[in-house]
Symmetry: none
Subunit: 535 residues, 2 copies
């Protein structure tokens, strides 16, 4: 049922132009350069860098890339056709894209009569002239042209004859690629198939078509696939689907679908196995949390919970996985949860380097303890370090680094300021020695963390390298008000590793305290294992 | 090009069962009941409540819904076929779903030979017998049966004959609906169309088909649409696409696509206009941040930035919007536009019974204050009482009932128990009289609430009727660790009304305190307005 075409498809990335239209996303020049170089490594042949005529930051980008060019990819500037009743040669925007000194340029023009008359306030004939003049001028200056037919699908639905005239004009004026855009994102896949097929039929000669889709109907990727299966050879999209409103077609979904399922050639296989890393890199650079549930590249994309699934996937991954996660640089992950069965516990233990037997009574004991804690509100899916400590507790291999014997939090509030400090006092015993320490922090958890470290650093200097990197709070049964059960999750790191721990209590301070204490404990455990290996 | 079928389609929601498989999502019994009632109002005819044989929480859910039934919807329990070589009548899981006392039950069984032999470790013939026996037994007990053919599409690709035998067995045993499941989410739309068409052809009689899709290929919604366009009459999905791994088909995308674009009838138009609110309600209840970029229902789905878009969309919304946002209960939003801001403020004020003029300097002042607070992390969409207090503050109509002059929280912890108490001491001034009060609570917020009431009740006895009904905490910029900005939202009620207030601070205690104080203030304001009306 798969289409074994092995046909080359041209990927065109517009993260740096259309992607930055996403509300809440902003990038510096340096960010753009880093992303462009990373996309180049991924093997994307066309990278749209920006609109230098409209944005001074983009002018800089093209200058920088002239001095230190990309390895393989074509960097492409984006611009509209010239304004009505004006010569292309005297249009400043076009001078700006010529100054970018690229091989290729992308020019967008109007396909929909409504946008010509209501938006541009010009005649249908003048719009055709704007396309012709702009493209001929750029061709005369030695540029190769990709023509983006804006609002193509809506325009074609309302006035197919005029829409076709616009792209025929573009081809006659020297466009090498015609990109059909679903600018408003309202088109469905069966419409894409029908319209692309009609377009191909309407040209006597062979033309190279591209597709540019938006996700307003949750169809951006499906529409791009429908386009390809109807004969389109270039696909425009963005990393992680970033883009205006609901985003653009997500290249992280498109590339694996096209290459692994339909047999098209988009990038090299070893580049495809960098996809998940590239996706996360881009989200880091633009400072947006990665979507854990993203197809192919998300942290949860190959996560299994539920006992039946886990035992089946171990026997034969095909049973619950549509592709091999490694093909896109992702990995299988076994999640610990309420539905956990013995096989989850065993696989998890193996991941932590603990060998236990399926029939050992300790295995059932761990499962029992897990279920008890989960009924109290613990959830180990996002707190694997606490789960390892729990396992070690039952197996009697949990080291004892310190005992917290008492701990007080004091907070003096009442003024509506943003920086009220909290004070924490702790009593900790290390090697039977009692230590009292106190510290201040922005909130009770920061204060507690500070006081604990202050006490422990004398005994465990490695604790200095630990850093609190994330802190999450969730009220579990909200509708009993402020006495509700609270779950706190804490993430710590030591520069090379990160781990998460959990605490649950009616008292938000108690829950946070449990998580912080386990976080420090786990960090010490990691350090001791590392030392053991070195010896 | 649209299919004007006006044909009825049956929506089947599985948020409460498959949706809760999403990593990081957990719901209480109370949460499940609230979601079920809200889906009932949305007009979803089938709501899958859970798997009572596997989960004690789900047993409770069905009991509660027997006592207080839903208005229109069928609540449906979910269960597998009986185990191999055992009578359906002696299968405890099936007793549990009979005890749910529903009209309909959903039974899933294996379609893929590989899962029968490798997963269940039984024969292909016994799997057919498990389907037949289970369905006949349930039909004999008066239940109507929906049969979920698990791994349908993969099973059909590998062994179509056997796959067809499984669903023919289900039909013969009395299943009224056959639901074709893409359990691993690896199928593409053209395959769905081909396979659904083959299934329909392979039955001599008319059969009712459903489709259940997962989003591992970013195709869940497109696949469900392909199924419907090939003749399927029931669509299974979840609110916001929650579900295992990459999620299930998102009903918030499916329903508008089916109803507004393809002309099918899923729910009433006035129910459709509640879609965005229902989506946000569900995300609030499960405490996951709503996806601003979600198609149709996201906050950014109809957001326009850039001058050209904005002026064009104001002249003719069709130019940049694929549907009218109001049809799905969403609204057009002009990003970074003062004018739009002012009209929002005016609209909001009118809602609170406050009449202010568009050109009044106070209006701009409110907007200014709002923007300042939002940049600090305040968000008034879920805290309208705080927004009203803010407006009254600027308009100088905010009454002063009391001033908190100081407040301390003390907490003595250190033992891993679930009931550590916190102590709060407050100093409040009422009518220039200073009062000191102290109280204990399960956590710092409960203690603070108790201490404040104790001090204020002498002056405002109506405060006795106030009750803290909800408390939510969200860490805004998680990656700065425990010093991150914290947003606390508190809901109070007085038996007839409910209101929500907000506090934001680096210190979780400070944020909670702000919200509690405003909550009490707003309750007193409501009470005084009521008295004024009575007089």
């Amino acid at each position: 049922m798969t289409v074994n075409s092995s046909q080359k498809l041209w990927m065109y990335d517009t993260t740096l132009r259309d992607g930055t239209q996403r509300e809440g996303l902003s990038v510096s020049l340096e960010d753009k350069l880093r992303i462009a170089r990373r996309l180049d490594e991924l093997g994307i042949p066309f990278i749209e860098g920006g609109w230098p005529g409209a944005n001074p930051k983009d002018v800089q980008l093209f200058w920088q890339l002239q001095e230190q060019p990309l390895k393989q990819a074509q960097i492409v500037p984006f611009c509209s056709t010239r304004r009505p009743n004006q010569a292309a040669s005297s249009e400043p925007m076009l001078q700006a894209i010529l100054a970018a000194s690229t091989n290729w340029v992308t020019i967008f023009g109007k396909s929909w009569d409504l946008h010509v008359t209501e938006g541009l306030k010009t005649s249908l004939a003048e719009n055709l002239e704007m396309i012709r003049d702009t493209l001929q001028y750029l061709r005369g200056q030695g540029r190769r042209v990709i023509y983006d037919a804006e609002h193509w699908f809506d325009g074609y639905k309302y006035n197919p004859d005029y829409a076709l005239q616009t792209i025929k004009t573009a081809v006659d004026a020297g466009a090498e690629w015609l990109v059909l855009c679903d600018t408003n994102g309202g088109t469905l896949p069966h419409e894409v198939s029908q319209i692309v097929t009609s377009v191909i039929k309407s040209f006597p000669q062979h033309i190279q078509l591209g597709i540019h889709t938006h996700n307003d109907s949750d169809m951006a990727v499906a529409n791009a696939l429908a386009g390809v299966m109807s004969g389109v050879g270039m696909v425009q999209g963005t990393m992680n689907g970033y883009g205006e409103r609901c985003g653009n077609a997500n290249l992280c979904s498109l590339i694996p679908n096209l290459q692994l399922k339909l047999g098209y050639k988009c990038i090299e296989d070893d580049q495809l196995s960098q996809l998940a890393q590239t996706s996360r890199f881009v989200s880091e650079v633009v400072n947006l949390a990665p979507d854990d549930h993203a197809p192919f590249v998300g942290r949860s994309a190959f996560a299994h919970k539920g006992g039946i699934h886990v035992s089946a996937v171990q026997k034969n991954p095909l049973t619950y996985e549509h592709i091999e996660p490694e093909q896109v640089g992702n990995c299988r992950r076994i999640v610990i949860s309420e539905q956990a069965g013995v096989s989850n516990v065993l696989m998890k233990a193996r991941g932590f380097g603990i060998e236990i037997d399926k029939n050992h009574p300790k295995t059932r004991q761990i499962l029992q303890r897990l279920k008890e804690l989960e009924s109290q509100g613990y959830q180990f899916e996002a707190a694997e370090a606490s789960f390892e400590l729990l396992m070690r507790e039952v197996l009697e291999t949990r080291p004892s680094w310190f005992q917290v014997k008492g701990f007080q939090i004091h907070c003096d509030l009442g003024k509506a300021v943003l920086t009220t400090k909290a004070l924490a006092t702790v009593k900790v015993a290390v090697n039977n020695e009692d230590i009292w320490e106190a510290a201040e922090g922005n909130g009770p958890v920061a204060a507690l963390d500070a006081a604990l470290r202050k006490g422990l650093v004398k005994f465990y200097p490695q604790i200095q390298t630990f850093e609190l990197t994330d802190y999450k709070v969730r009220i579990l049964n909200g509708h009993t008000g402020t006495s509700a059960t609270t779950r706190a999750i804490v993430e710590l790191g030591n520069g090379t590793q990160r781990w998460t721990t959990i605490g649950v209590s009616n008292n938000i301070l108690e829950a946070s305290y449990q998580a912080v204490v386990e976080g420090l404990e786990y960090g010490l455990l990691l350090h001791s294992q590392l030392n053991a290996e070195v010896r």
